[in-house]
Symmetry: D2
Subunit: 349 residues, 4 copies
């Protein structure tokens, strides 16, 4: 019953096997080998256009280096008030940009409100003493609270960003889950809707360590290669990451894994909806379920070996919590089994 | 009719004369001269305890270096949502700290709400993956919207800060106006109420360039001298600043100037309250008046030579703005005359 | 004939197999799993004392984060004039420290001269206006030019560092090759000789991606965990790295691989010494050979498929270069074969 | 007998009087007032072309902000091995650039050797893994050891910089002394000889606090205004600095002061040359004299009230020091009197 996070899971056997397959032999270092180049092309196919792919150390590094590549002097990036990049990444974006600010924008259930975004950007358009230079808008897909932006949602935000001449970044640590949940293509979900650059993560979805920045719009983020070099994240044996992605994209493995995780989350959500002793905080749309439980019960479940964490109250939560109640997060992964879900469901009921 | 800002004024004649008096002769450089040492002692008297005084380039530098001196890895400082340091200083605090974040806290009329502060700090006390290290609380006195914290207000915030073992910083760019407005002593307004370090500014109140960081609690901010050195703000002929402060503190000049500025603001506020064509956005408590005017009228006044600026709508504003109305800021200084105020008043009426 | 760098090689089959073995199943993320803990203990055994181990993205990141953990305001680190960290790592150490300086110290064949080190540190001990704060000494073992410090060499440098109260860092990207070359134990090569912290790399010696900072002296580098977090290098599925090290240390695999690489370098060196058409620039002591070749011949070899690079003239080189001659570097790895070496040797002869 | 530094002197009476003259009245803040604009024009006349002038806090800030404005990712600036910016400014340039490196270049008596410069830059032009991006060359005029570059010297360095497409910066903390010593015009000394940007200082030459960056080549350093803003060095009452420069440039006051300082240094040098008990370390060319004295005698002089400091042995010093001898620096200022010089001379003799 491991629902603490999708990064507690291991690696899919196909990915592991592909690493073994590429273990021997000599290859040009630093991402210039044959396999690396083949994988970059595969990314072009996935996104239906020529993109630039940068392997980086973690999802946090992908976000922080994305911001660094969009950085301006006195820069201000606009994000959701609960954006992982802003509140959970230990200031990595600030460190990588040398001090750019994240300006929090409100919006329901993890999604930025476009009107509020517009107002927040305008705050910095005064003429007098400069207060800051808007530099980027960033959204998270799937969001931090397990919801998903529709294409229209993304387009509305992109429209505001474009009006202010700002690039649009997407934190796609769980991008696969969003694609799997909506059957919207990666291209449609990103550049066709106005996204310029994405932190595209495979680690939470069955890879060992496969985080990237993918630049979709060739007009932005031109310095990423150098910024990554300076950050000490240019991997010498990059084929280790390429081998993971080769398997990840083969036969839609990435979407199959994400669909499975989403299905397990939906199965858990259905169980909770039926359970007298718990209820959903809001409807899950990807692979994360947020449920309201009695604290005593939750602690008992944890004591019995169930792994999951209490979640802070989102600013936009407008439901009601009882005296001894709290919100808990349950994350399903490619490796979650129906048996685990049902076992957990019985504990909650 | 100059109400654009108190930093449009020149310098008080006493301060100018004192500079002339100290112009000749040789003195040890870098703030170690006799006059410098005498002025540091004067600060001790003003604050009724031994303090450490650091001359810096501007008020923004004072704030940013204060934050740098309180910095932690992954640091988060808690400030009002409209804090000048957060939204108006072009990211200086982020730059000087190498990327520390400002976490905005709500509260009415420029003042942090202590309960909201407590909640914001607790957000970072989770045990799992570290999201950030709380490093400081900062308040502005007088506030960005011309209001003043009472001693009880400060103590309530200091109590929250102390409970979380956080130092309390005060942005005192208009500290003199707050002291003059309340007749609370500098000591009572700061360390006796829990403030550990203050950006103490003289520039807006009749000096040429006289900004400092004053460390009130010797247990914090120990590296300020070195941080200032690295920032290229250790002035060689520091007596230029010392000479200003010598005159500033003589015969309570600083409070006399601040009282005058406050009185001019009050005079303007009274006029506006009586004017049919305008109204106060909220009650001013120091030297800044925020008034709601018809945009057409305001532009006409500006066209006729009155200098003042439109102000963004504060988050905490709960009044009503008519269709063509906006909030405008009027700042009085030591040099503002009653004639100017009355002239402006006639324009508004 | 791949002698471009040891990071062109793949990964040893034992390491690959161990990754596969650990691919399935759930484990606590972020380096707190059972395998992770077992591997940390293994490091204790290797170094014969309790050490703190931090997995990081690359060798450059290991160096840069080491410097960050030893950083002081206005900090100056002392390194060899040709130190990889100073001249080859794209300013990573400067970036991670927010601007600390590297002060280059001369010395023959990649090794710091202790007397010159002492003089360079003393340069910053003046009393007046502070010019900088010495923060660390760093040496590379094996050095950038394929030589090795003896224990006495290290102790002499450590003695100077200790006299100035400075921690001693070792860049051990090729530490295994140095240990294998000398049969000096890791403990003797490091903390028993005064080294406080080491960038311990496995990537160049048969791993996929296995770079660490190992803190040997518990009194230094206390903030490494937080600095790594802020740098976005806390790996969620850390067991991927642990699994590599488990196999790396089993049955002395790491030393067997390093010994092989060193032996291949020695075999190449012997061939070159006997070759009429080339000569050694200096005697190799680990797995890198620097040879003086005629440029025309070298280009012909490269044209025929031999992979190796020209090397810049080290400051300390006191030999003679003919008109059309240059220094070339040849690196052997765990995967280099005697056949490759002999093939290359025939080309040179 | 104050020869510790030219920044121990006060301010010239003309400058002081001009400050008083501009003390009253209202002016647009942040350097946009009428006086500010008039002074910017005066700079155009001094440099015989349109230039961009930025007032900053100190000479160190001028250098550091200059480097920030020329910064590149992984940037490397080339300077003399003894450049003040590199070894004496507490890492300010590294801090302001977020970690750019200074690459020290040798050369006799404080002047960069053009051939050595060319070699140092070429070190970073390798094709493989990037080691750094050359970003600027910087020279000091007058140099740190009181010598002066000729126009031919500057042109030779500029030619190397231009060949590598690098901007040329001049640290002109004592630029006035160099101009006064050579009768070469500011234009000829700078942009006509290939200098793109200069730290132009008035503080050491009779001002209170008057340091600037002057951008001579409009194609470089375009972000200086924003970088200064973020650094908290945009002075609100900028006319305080403008008033100093207005007087500084009137009737060639700046050159008259510099000529006087140079003459006093020459007078001291002549005395030392004649003194049996001391000798010049090298010939002074501006306002600094470096003399070799017996330590016992020097300490006795200091004990009797003479203010001056021992100087570290420059790398390029090829003279001989006796057992108990050291090099001492004596700096003359606009305020130094012939009586002081002669008094000091008698002590040395």
């Amino acid at each position: 019953m491991f629902f603490a996070s999708d990064n507690w899971a291991g690696v899919h056997p196909d990915i592991s096997a592909n690493l073994t397959r590429h273990a021997a032999g000599i290859a040009t270092a630093y991402g210039d080998g044959d396999l690396d180049r083949a994988v970059y092309k595969r990314f072009n196919e996935i996104f239906e256009r020529e993109v630039a792919v940068f392997f980086v150390a973690t999802g946090t590094a992908a976000n922080a280096l994305s911001m660094a590549s969009l950085n301006r002097i006195g820069g201000v990036a606009f994000c959701h008030a609960e954006a992982h990049m802003n509140v959970d990444e230990f200031g990595a974006a600030g460190f990588y940009t040398g001090g750019a600010r994240m300006s929090p924008v409100p919006g329901p259930l993890g999604r930025i409100n476009p009107q509020a975004l517009d107002g927040a950007i305008k705050r910095y358009s005064r003429d007098l003493v400069p207060a800051g230079q808007p530099m980027a808008v960033t959204i998270t897909q799937a969001t931090e609270v397990g919801t998903v932006y529709t294409v229209d949602d993304i387009k509305a935000i992109a429209e505001v960003a474009r009006r202010h001449k700002l690039p649009l970044h997407m934190d796609g640590a769980r991008f696969a889950n969003a694609v799997a949940a909506t059957d919207i293509s990666p291209a449609e979900m990103t550049w066709k809707s106005g996204v310029d650059i994405i932190s595209f993560g495979g680690t939470k979805n069955g890879c060992w360590m496969a985080d990237t920045v993918v630049v979709l719009n060739p007009d932005v983020a031109r310095d990423l290669r150098l910024l990554r070099q300076r950050a000490g994240q240019t991997f010498s044996k990059a084929r280790f990451i390429s081998a993971q992605f080769e398997a990840y994209f083969a036969d839609d493995l990435w979407l199959r894994m994400a669909r499975h995780a989403n299905a397990m989350a939906a199965r858990l959500a259905a169980t909770i909806e039926d359970a007298p002793a718990g209820r959903l905080a809001w409807l899950p749309q990807a692979n994360e379920v947020f449920a309201i439980l009695d604290r005593t019960k939750a602690e008992k479940m944890q004591g019995a070996g169930a792994k999951f964490y209490e979640w802070g109250l989102p600013q936009s939560f407008d439901g009601h919590l009882g005296d001894n109640e709290a919100i808990y997060r349950f994350v399903a992964s490619f490796a979650t089994t129906a048996e685990e879900v049902d076992h957990l469901g019985r504990m909650i009921a």
